[in-house]
Subunit: 349 residues, 2 copies
Amino acid sequence: MPLTVVGSIAYDSVRTPFGERERMLGGAAVHFALAARFFDEVRVVGPVGADFGEDDLEVMRARGVDVSDVERIAGGRTFFWRGEYGWDLNTRETLDTQLGVFERFDPKLSERSRASDVLFLANIQPSLQQRVRAQLPDARFVALDSMNLWIEIAREELVRAIRGADCLILNDAELRQLTGMPNLLSAAREVLAWGPSGQTPRGPRVIVAKQGEYGSALVTRDRFFALPAYPLENVIDPTGAGDTFAGGLVGYIAANTPVGGAPRAQASGAERPEQVADTNAVQLDDELLRTAMAYATVLASFNVEEFGTERVCRLTREEIDARLRELASMTSFSSAAETAPAGSASPAA
Amino acid sequence: MPLTVVGSIAYDSVRTPFGERERMLGGAAVHFALAARFFDEVRVVGPVGADFGEDDLEVMRARGVDVSDVERIAGGRTFFWRGEYGWDLNTRETLDTQLGVFERFDPKLSERSRASDVLFLANIQPSLQQRVRAQLPDARFVALDSMNLWIEIAREELVRAIRGADCLILNDAELRQLTGMPNLLSAAREVLAWGPSGQTPRGPRVIVAKQGEYGSALVTRDRFFALPAYPLENVIDPTGAGDTFAGGLVGYIAANTPVGGAPRAQASGAERPEQVADTNAVQLDDELLRTAMAYATVLASFNVEEFGTERVCRLTREEIDARLRELASMTSFSSAAETAPAGSASPAA
């Protein structure tokens, strides 16, 4: 199913212990789209300034991303971020943020972008996320990312935005901050209980906690799934890893969900009333979500191997699938429990 | 293969956000033994004071643990620890540590304890770990745990102790601290390269990084394996989780490694010269290590559900195996890569 992403298109200046780059192509929508396009048709919505290079637009276009809703603001400046990472890449300091054209961004989606079945609301002001969401009332799957800033200064707006989404993708520390609950499962279940907002028919039903180098976890009302990160000895630049992860996740879900057919009635329907009530909602099959998490993990691992979009730009589907198989072998074990207690001891159970 | 553990037998006074307990049975050797006894015969070596209750000894004895090498020091006091955990259980403060009988502990192992094929050196002074290791020169598999304190005040001693072990089990932050390397894989490979000490025929060949609520990772010269923690909404007391984890890991390896037979020559022998050189070393099959990690994860998850040893003391093998199957289903995904790029986009690879 076609997929629309709304979010930042940016220039990033980044310094890590392994080098630096000035004004690289970046931004949440860009990283997301360059990952999601491996799975489905992606339409990018977002503003750029007069300084935005045609060649940077071509980076996306050449990889099949629909950039016709990228709005060039005459006289404006493209969103700019400058940051520096600490020695272990787990901390980063923002040295400069220039909103530029994002300061007055009022997303007006074309008919084509509004026709997408799947929507990803990248990390922008929650009020903007809500306005975009309202332009796709019939979206069958909506995912949303956010950040600590909005939890701190616009929590109520953010909660409303989340209630309009099917899937919340957040750093695990932010999920704790959002809910005030230190336990990951409790925090996720809290959000799952928020229910739909007035304008939207469903509430959040999938919570994904990004855990950086430790991996990620997915919580639904009746399932839990978790994966470690793909291990890398040389991590060069984590910028965009979260959005690349989201691109793999949402892109895979978009591509592998049956189109058109109304969802089947479920045997366990009583447990998920909102899915039955809303015949427009996609069925989120357990196996689909697991594989989506694995692809997300793999895409993110390629992203951090080089600066900005460098590695993902020349990535192939074959490389992705090969690493997916590697990841499977790194996380699978036999649970046959074939072994009876051995030795001469007689453990009293 | 029978298994000897040397380490603390203690009384712990613990306060967590969910309650508190005074002078519970605890200590690394106790937590380890109560987990490992599900898999194999376990012999505990360590000192206790005159204040140590016969009923606490009986807790282990009743569960098949051999406590005949638990040395009662006349007039001595049992090791005592008092600590308090923060709101998210990820930080803890030590309020009191009384070494008691551990201050002058000089481990003298009985012939029976020295005859074990497998040895676990729980977290004690590295010089003591070396002295114990020297008493089991023919041990076929030796695992070792340590902590930040020894990295800070006795690093050289600790490195020597590690070079006498086959398997290092450490918190991931401590592994980085030990090696000065922020990257987990690099840090693990650094330790794998240390090689044998003068008195021991092998060097470390398995590194296990404990990552708390995020799970754990295992690194060998040619393999990587990682698992998330089993998700729990109610974590009551993390005390002893690391030693319970080690008990599951080392206990499973001890129970499931063929006894007696000299190791087979390996096709990949050139890559692991020390295994070929030392005919006494156990063969660490990849599948064996994975399943051991999974059992370790499961045992640790039970440990934290209640205070101290309470939950593990009434645990059954059936509960363990049921949770192992659950863990498998929470971490497995299809890597068949059955899905070709869908939608109308033509991603340029």
